[in-house]
Amino acid sequence: MEGWGRYPRHESEVLVCRLPETLSGTVSSRAGLIARGNGRSYGDAAIGEHLTLTCGALSRMKSFDEMNASLTVEGGVMLSDILRSFIPRGYFPPVVPGTKFVTIGGMIASDVHGKNHHRDGGFGEHVSEIKLVVAGGEIVTCSRAKNSELFLATLGGMGLTGVVAEATFTLRPITTGWIVQKTVVTENLADTLKALKQTDDATYSVAWIDCLSRGASLGRSLIFVGEHASPSDIAQMPKAAQFPPSKAARLSLPVDLPGSALNRASVSAFNDLYYRLGARKAARASLVHWDSYFFPLDGLLEWNRLYGKRGFLQHQCVVPDENALAVLSSMLDRFARSGKASFLAVLKRLRGGAGLLSFPAPGYTLALDLPVAPDVFQLLDEIDKLVVAAGGRLYLAKDARQSRHTFEAGYPRLQAFKEVRRTTGADRHFSSQLGKRLGI
């Protein structure tokens, strides 16, 4: 088995959970298991030490309460299904990651963040209740009021507290399926960080950093700021276009490409846009389809194969505001000098996370891809030292290689998490390759 990055690979027995009624029995029957959603985590989080329990068939929605816009679904329901059903009815998920091909169980276990984390927090903040199958097979209902420690451990807990059988969360009302996007062009990193901070009151914001530029223009970026469009914003469109359906994605790669293909594509796309928008300075607002705005990579299914057979790593860290400029510049400089990393990185603002092991912390998060190669690991170990020294941490959903030291330094609530694992018997029962590697 492997994750989205196709590195590392581990042997694991796989069991498919077909019906909710069999979940308790299956979970309690074997130790050393972990739940798996749609396998969009990059590394070894969704690979069981002995057994991987795939939950994709737990894909039924349970109920929707219009009064509170509160939706209850089984843990294997796909985000793409929620979008398909609810956008036409004027609702949008409170938080979405960069791909819609994830399950609600996976979104909770990683307490995923979106482009609105600085404003709305992570997905976990919008979850009101979870039905969790714990080590003994019992179904425990947890929320902020009930079994709250277990609830907070489960948000961002990487499946290590149990299996999410059901969850309830609130949707946000929208009046169109379009995003009004503005693009800000920045000249260097200081500029970029400042501009991101200035867009803190925008609903969505994210920066694409050009990792090739060095010296005075190190960290030059395009910042995409977005708001849900109102009916007046789309007045020119035909009525039928108010809530457009998902864009069809069919294309998937028949073969693995050599590792450099994606980099070449992304760098030329960036340069193209940068100069076009830069030349116009203040770019006009444009209307963007929800699918293109939130999930640009979903148009190309299986794009992870662009990196070739050896797979790739994603490095995603968050560093606190105070050290951000210094640390991020030395990181970008290291990456650029190494010539190993993708030519594009993504930078966002985060605030604190809800769960005991949630990744988000106040500051800036930087994510970039690197094809797996022998010398990449050492480079990343050195980068990690910078992250740790700055008081930052790495995202477990993307991780395939960080050291225990890096992990322990970054997650101060780890002891509290382990305590919950101990008291619920999860420590002897739920185990992933990630958990084993990091000693969780």
Binding site: R18, R60, R89
Partner: protein, 249 residues
């Protein structure tokens, strides 16, 4: 979704093809009556469709082998639906069917007897009303008996012939009768089997096709879901028996 005042009866709601079909109809504004042999599991599908679409959905329990209950069951579904789709089926295990009469009989009854009798009953009621569409799910396996699955295939052949007769009988009574042959479909039934991608449909694809032919703009009586099956099965049907009996397809 705005209700359009039409109702679908879907028998076999817990099947992947069945639930996909019910969803397509619900998204088009139909009311849905779901039927399956275990109430809790049918209710789960009903809740799912209600939540996804806001459609009006009811859940009913019926075992397709329990023919004594058919009449009473139909009286609980009122008013009479506009379209009835039966997707109930059971692949069974050929080797076991060769050894155990019970198993072979179960496969025959689940694919032929139950669905045929139920659809026949519905067809007569539709005919009395003067309108309605009947959809039966048969299989390419019923087009020609093969050593690897002829018990299932024979039952499906029976269903195909039954539907053909029904269509013939009711062609002037305002009742349409459709036979759907899905080809390979990626479902619980075929889980773990190696299926050729070009011949294999997703449940949603089958569902779209059923809706398009039964209640959309497309016509047709006997329909293969993927068009490639038309020439393929024409060839397979045309192979002379002396040759066919030696082939291992």
């Amino acid at each position: 979704m705005k209700a359009i005042g039409k109702a679908l009866l879907l028998i076999g709601a817990t099947s992947d093809i069945g639930r996909a079909t019910a969803l397509v109809y619900a998204e088009a504004g139909w009311d849905i009556h779901l039927v399956g042999r275990r109430r809790e599991l049918v209710q789960r599908e009903a809740d799912d469709i209600v939540t996804r679409t806001g459609a009006a959905v009811t859940a009913h329990e019926l075992d397709i082998l329990d023919i004594d209950r058919f009449e009473a069951f139909l009286s609980t579904v009122s008013p009479l639906p506009d379209t009835a789709v039966c997707v109930v089926g059971e692949l069974g295990e050929q080797a076991r069917a060769e050894r155990e009469l019970e198993h072979a009989a179960m496969v025959m009854r689940t694919n032929f007897e139950g669905p045929a009798l139920m659809l026949g009953l519905l067809a007569s009621r539709f005919a009395a009303r003067g309108s309605g569409t009947i959809v039966g799910i048969s299989s390419v396996a019923g087009d020609r008996g093969r050593g690897s699955n002829y018990v299932y295939g024979a039952a499906k052949a029976g269903l195909t012939a039954f539907l053909s007769g029904l269509r013939n009988r009711l062609s002037t009574a305002g009742v349409r009768v459709l036979t759907i042959k899905p080809g390979f479909v990626r479902t619980r039934m075929t889980d773990g089997m190696k299926l050729p991608p070009v011949l294999t449909a997703a449940p949603a694809e089958v569902a779209q096709r059923i809706f398009a032919v039964a209640d959309g703009s497309k016509g047709g009586d006997v329909v293969y879901v993927r068009r490639i099956w038309y020439p393929l099965m024409a060839i397979i049907r045309s192979i002379p028996e002396p040759i066919f009996k030696r082939l291992r397809l």
